[in-house]
């Protein structure tokens, strides 16, 4: 970061990377979205509510949510083995738990809603970008929702709290805190931290991330509007 607070990719400390978000990009999925978030390129596809296989996983009281976060072998610098890594399994779990508070599945007992995420190219903050796409893909699939889930990371780079850490910053960064947020309900549904923050930095970092989530939310809304109102049926 230079003396004017300009970061290695030219952004200000509270500036998001470029985000491009498109809804309804997959023909076969019940809902889908494609996001480019910095250099992240991520697809999300939704199937469901549909029958659960294997059946013993079904819940007779409500629908269940499943999530797979997966990286294509060519998505990172060194070719990635296609089998799911422990990191991918953990991220699948925290993404599922971040989306769960937003979806309303009580009217769909014995069914599953499957969230499939494919990272075609990975950059810093891929789990947040994946969540942003998955959340509007769920809306695109017509799944009843309490709120959108908007996600963005903040972190500490060169002793400053900055919004939306990219890959290059992350390597030499001091902390990275991915956050997912339901903007209308005001709830944090994903939070992780790697790195070292003082208590006051922790507060600032969380507030910065939530500020980013609110910006992302506007982009998500716009993408949905584009599909459903400007090019769409109404």
């Amino acid at each position: 970061m230079n003396e004017n607070g300009i970061r290695c990719d030219g952004r200000k400390i509270d500036q998001l990377r470029n985000i491009s978000l498109k809804v309804g990009v997959l023909k076969n999925a019940d809902g889908s979205a494609y996001i480019e978030f910095g250099k992240n390129k991520i697809l999300a596809g939704i199937f469901g509510p549909r029958d659960v296989h294997p059946k013993h996983m079904a819940d007779s009281d409500k629908g269940i949510l499943r999530c797979r976060y997966h990286m294509s072998p060519f998505s990172v610098t060194e070719r990635k083995n296609p089998a799911p890594s422990r990191r991918e399994i953990e991220i699948s779990k925290v993404i599922k738990e971040a989306l769960q508070p937003a979806v309303i599945l009580k009217d769909f007992p014995r069914t599953v809603v499957d969230v499939f995420i494919e990272v075609l190219q990975a950059d810093g903050g891929s789990r947040c970008a994946a969540l942003d796409a998955a959340s509007i893909a769920l809306a695109d699939a017509g799944i009843p929702m309490r709120d959108m889930v908007s996600a963005c990371a903040a972190g500490k780079v060169a002793d400053q709290i900055v919004l939306d850490v990219n890959d290059e910053e992350d390597k030499e960064g001091q902390a990275d805190m991915p956050v997912a947020y339901m903007p209308n309900l005001g709830k944090v549904t994903l939070m992780q931290l790697d790195g070292i923050l003082t208590p006051s930095e922790y507060k600032k970092c969380l507030e910065t991330a939530i500020g980013g989530c609110k910006q992302v939310y506007e982009i998500q809304r716009k993408a949905l509007m584009e599909k459903y109102f400007e090019n769409g049926s109404q």
Binding site: L26, F47, R50, H70, F74, R79, A83, P84, E118, L120
Partner: protein, 268 residues
């Protein structure tokens, strides 16, 4: 469920009825492919990449190039490996997990098309004989399925390969070391083109959709090289072909292949 079975049945009858008049459900002629679009360079972090769309079938392929150990007894050749995955978001029937027999067949047929035509001169990819070679990994992710994964995957893979650049490695202290900023084109010798045909009743149709595959009797994929020779074949499906049909399929594969090859040549 029942109503969808009935719809499937009606669709099948409609496809067969139309074929008797030489027509197809989507208006194509029997030997016409669907619209093909190919974009390259879509994954900048990969050494080569492409997205191919054939109708609604869509596949993204990335090429990664890195030093590797040669296969035993093949110490004078680089490595080339094709893999494929039908992403679970591509198809309601696809399941996450290790590849099933259909995906393995897909990857191996695409692999053979590239390998048997000798598209890449693997002998130019040796860093140190028997010890260290360049490995080319061609990984395909199926994004949406609507039939004929073979050709779509083959075109995406070939396009990713044609558009890739190979980083330079040198052996230093017995270990391959990257030479920064010296990338070159891969040693391409020919361009393989795969053409897949379905037999439905006694009709041969090129580039079957998922609906057509659901009612086909048998399938054949024929790959030709730039000289118009036949280099790889895979018959599939639960019925057979008459010999005359196989002769005819080869003719079609050569003729359709020539058109596609012109598209691919522009990517070099």
């Amino acid at each position: 469920m029942t109503s969808s079975v009935i719809i499937e049945q009606l669709k099948r009858e409609r496809i067969l009825d139309l074929l008797k008049e030489g027509k197809r459900l989507d208006g194509r002629g029997l030997y016409d492919q669907r619209t093909l679009t190919i974009e390259t360079g879509i994954i900048p972090k990969a050494d080569g990449s492409a997205r191919a769309r054939l109708g609604d079938t869509e596949i993204v392929t990335g090429v990664k190039i890195q030093p590797d150990k040669p296969f035993p007894d093949l110490g004078d050749k680089g490595i080339l490996i094709c893999t494929a995955e039908i992403l679970p978001l591509a198809d309601p029937g696809a399941e996450p997990g290790p590849p099933n027999e259909e995906v393995i067949e897909l990857a191996r047929v695409v692999d053979r098309g590239i390998r048997e035509t000798e598209m890449v001169d693997l002998k130019q990819l040796v860093l140190k004989k028997d010890k260290s070679v360049i490995g080319i990994f061609i990984d395909s992710s199926v994004i949406n399925t609507d039939g004929n994964l073979f050709d779509t995957c083959s075109y995406a893979s070939v396009a990713a390969l044609l558009s890739c650049t190979v980083p330079k490695y040198e052996i230093k202290e017995d270990v391959p070391a990257l030479v920064e900023g010296q990338r070159s084109k891969p040693p391409i010798k020919t361009i393989p083109v795969s053409v897949t045909m379905a037999r439905i009743g006694e009709h041969i149709v090129v580039d079957p959709t998922a609906d057509e595959e659901a009612c086909m009797n048998a399938r054949i994929t024929i790959t030709t090289n730039s000289e118009g020779n036949i280099c790889a074949i895979q018959k599939g499906g639960n019925d057979g072909f008459a010999v005359e049909q196989l002769f005819k399929c080869a003719e079609i594969a050569i003729s359709v292949g020539t058109k596609i090859r012109k598209r691919l040549e522009q990517l070099m």
